[in-house]
Amino acid sequence: MSAKPIQTSMRDALGEALVKLGEEIPELVVVGADTSGSLKLSVFGSKFPQRFFNVGIAEQNMVGVAAGLALAGKKVVCGSYAVFMPGRAVDQIRNTIAYCRLDVKLVGSHGGVSVGPDGGSHQALEDIAIMRSIPNMNVVVPADGISTKKLFTQACRSVGPYYVRLARPSSPAVYTEGTELRVGRAEILRDGSDVAIIAVGLMVDKALRAAQSLREAGVSAMVVDSHTVKPLDAETILSAARTTGAVVTAEEHNVFGGVGSAVAELLVKTHPVKMEMVGVNDVFGESGETDELMAKYGLTEKHIFEAAMKMVKQK
C-alpha cells in the first residue's frame, strides 16, 4: 500500500454502466425521483431521454411505476437515496417487485454514515436488513467504483429483482478493471489462516488495510469481499471460517440484520466460530465529515484490527 490508491466513485460508475447497458438492452428504462443528478441516473436520461422518467419526490410512485413498466415487459432501473428507497417504498418493493419477481434493479445510494454532513436523516443503516428479509430479493453491496460497474452490469443483464447499495463518497479502488467479479461469488482478496475478515462496501478497503497491520503484528488475516449479501456465498464463507476458526464482519450498517447477521446465521448452523461484528451499534448517525463519522461510529481500519486481535486471542 505504498502508492496513493486510485479513487473511484460508485455513482459515476453507475452512470457509466447505465449508458453502456442502455445501448446493449433496448428495453432498459430508468425511473428517478428528483435525485437522478446525484445518482447519475441523469447521465442515462441525457443519452436516452425517451427511456428516462423523473417522477419527482415520490419514491412510492417511482417503485410502482417501475413495477408497471416491468409488468409491461421493460427492464427497469430505479433509485434514490437508501433512506428513502427502500425506506419510503418498502411496501411497494415487497408487494410488487419482490412478490412478482419483477425485472427491476433498485439502487439505494448514500448507504451508511459516510454520507457525511447531511446527517442522520440521510444515512441509511437499516436498508440491507430490510431488503435481505424480503423473499426473491438479491442484495449486492459493491466495494468501489470498479466493482459497482461490474456487479451492477451483471445484475442488469440477469432477470429479477436486485437491490444494489452504494456509498456517497469516492473511495480507493479495491479492484482493477481486469478483475473478474461475479454476482453471488464472494472474492477472497487476501489469504490468511488466523482470522477471516468478511467485509462489504467501503469497509472492504479498510479490511485490507487492517489485514496489513495485522500481518505486521504477526496475525495472518484472510479478507473476503462478500459483495453479494443475498444470496450469500455460503461455500466461500464457510471455507473461510473452517480455515481460520475466527470471523470478523465489517459493514457500514447497523450490526442488527446486515452482513454480520447473514454470516452468523450461516455459521451458527454449519460451523460456529468466534465472531465479532464491526458495524454501527444500533444508533443513528449525525452530521460530520466522512472520516470523523467513520471513526466515531466504529468503522475504521483500527476497529477491524482490534476486533480481529480480540478474536485471535479468544481462539
Partner: protein, 283 residues
C-alpha cells in the same frame, strides 16, 4: 346466445346482456365468498357493472391468450375485490368456473388478493391499497414507448384515495399526458371503518382530479349507457388521462349489506348468503 368476441374492438353487446351477466357475477361472488368463509363482499358487489362493462363490452382481450401483447389491461388496484375479478375472468373463460370455489384455499390459484404469477388474466398483485395507479402509469408509459395502442384501466376504491401514492401517480399521469390511461373510482362511500366522509373526507372527489389535470367523467355506476359512454369518451380524449368517478353502493344487490361497512370484509353464514342469492334473483 352468440359468443362475445373479446378481441373485437367495436363489438356490440346489449345492455340487457350486460345486466344478465352482472346478475350472474353477483351470484358467483356470493357463492365463492360463502364457500371461502371469508373475504370482501361489499366492495366486490359495488363495482360489478364497471368491470362487466370493461371486460364484456369494451376491453380488447383474449381469454385464450392472457399474455397477448396488444391486450387492454385491467388493473384491480382495490385488490380486496378479488372475487369480482375472479368471477369476471372465469365468466370470460380465463379459467374454469369450477375453480371459483377454491377461493382462499390452500394451494389455490385464487389467492385472497390477486397474484398475477398464479392466475392467468390477473395483471397486478393486489392487497396494499394505492399502488395500482402507479403501475398503470408504468404500463401506459411502456405502451407509448412500444408504440402499442392498448389501453390501461385501473379500478380504485374511494377509501383508497386516502393513500398519498394515488396522488403521486395522478401527478405523474398528467405530467406524461397519458391519454391511454383510464382510472375508475368506485365511489361507494364506505370504507372498512365506516363512511368515507367520516373516516377521511375525500370530497370534492371530482374536483380533486380536475385540479390534478385529469379529464373527469361522473357516472351512475349502475347505468350501462353512462358507463359505456364514459369509457368511449376516455378513449377519445387526447393528452390527458381520464378518471371515471362512478357513484355506486357498497354491497349493491344485497339489501342488508348495502351501505354497511360491516360487510367490507365479512362474509355472513351460508344460510344468510343463500337468502341473499334468492333476493338477487328476484331483482
Amino acid at each position: 346466445m352468440e359468443a362475445i368476441q373479446f378481441a373485437e374492438p367495436n363489438r356490440q353487446v346489449s345492455v340487457e346482456r350486460l345486466q344478465a351477466i352482472s346478475r350472474q357475477i353477483r351470484k358467483d361472488i356470493l357463492e365463492m365468498l360463502s364457500e371461502a368463509g371469508s373475504g370482501h363482499p361489499g366492495g366486490s358487489l359495488s363495482a360489478v357493472e364497471l368491470v362487466v362493462a370493461l371486460y364484456f363490452a369494451k376491453m380488447v382481450h383474449n381469454p385464450l391468450d392472457p399474455r397477448w401483447a396488444d391486450r387492454d389491461r385491467f388493473l384491480l388496484s382495490k385488490g380486496h375485490a378479488a372475487p369480482l375479478l375472479y368471477a369476471v375472468l372465469a365468466e370470460c373463460g380465463y379459467f374454469p368456473k369450477s375453480e371459483l370455489k377454491t377461493l382462499r384455499k390452500l394451494g389455490s390459484r385464487l389467492q385472497g388478493h390477486p397474484d398475477p404469477t398464479k392466475l392467468p388474466g390477473v395483471e397486478i398483485p393486489g392487497g396494499p391499497e394505492g399502488i395500482g395507479l402507479s403501475e398503470g402509469v408504468g404500463m401506459a408509459l411502456a405502451a407509448r414507448l412500444d408504440r402499442k395502442s392498448y389501453r390501461v384501466y385501473v379500478l380504485m376504491g374511494d377509501g383508497e384515495l386516502n393513500e398519498g401514492e394515488v396522488w403521486e401517480a395522478a401527478m405523474a399521469a398528467a405530467k406524461y399526458k397519458l391519454d391511454n390511461l383510464t382510472a375508475i373510482v368506485d365511489r361507494n362511500g364506505v370504507q372498512q371503518d365506516g363512511l368515507t366522509e367520516q373516516i377521511m373526507p375525500i370530497e370534492p372527489v371530482a374536483n380533486k382530479w380536475r385540479a390534478f389535470n385529469w379529464n373527469v367523467i361522473e357516472v351512475d355506476g349502475y347505468d350501462f349507457e353512462q358507463i359505456l359512454g364514459a369509457i368511449d369518451e376516455a378513449r377519445s380524449v387526447r393528452n390527458k388521462p381520464t378518471v371515471i368517478v362512478a357513484y355506486t353502493t357498497k354491497g349493491k344487490g344485497v339489501e342488508f349489506m348495502e351501505w354497511q361497512s360491516e360487510y367490507h370484509g365479512k362474509v355472513p353464514d351460508k344460510q344468510t348468503v343463500q337468502k341473499a342469492i334468492e333476493e338477487l334473483q328476484k331483482r
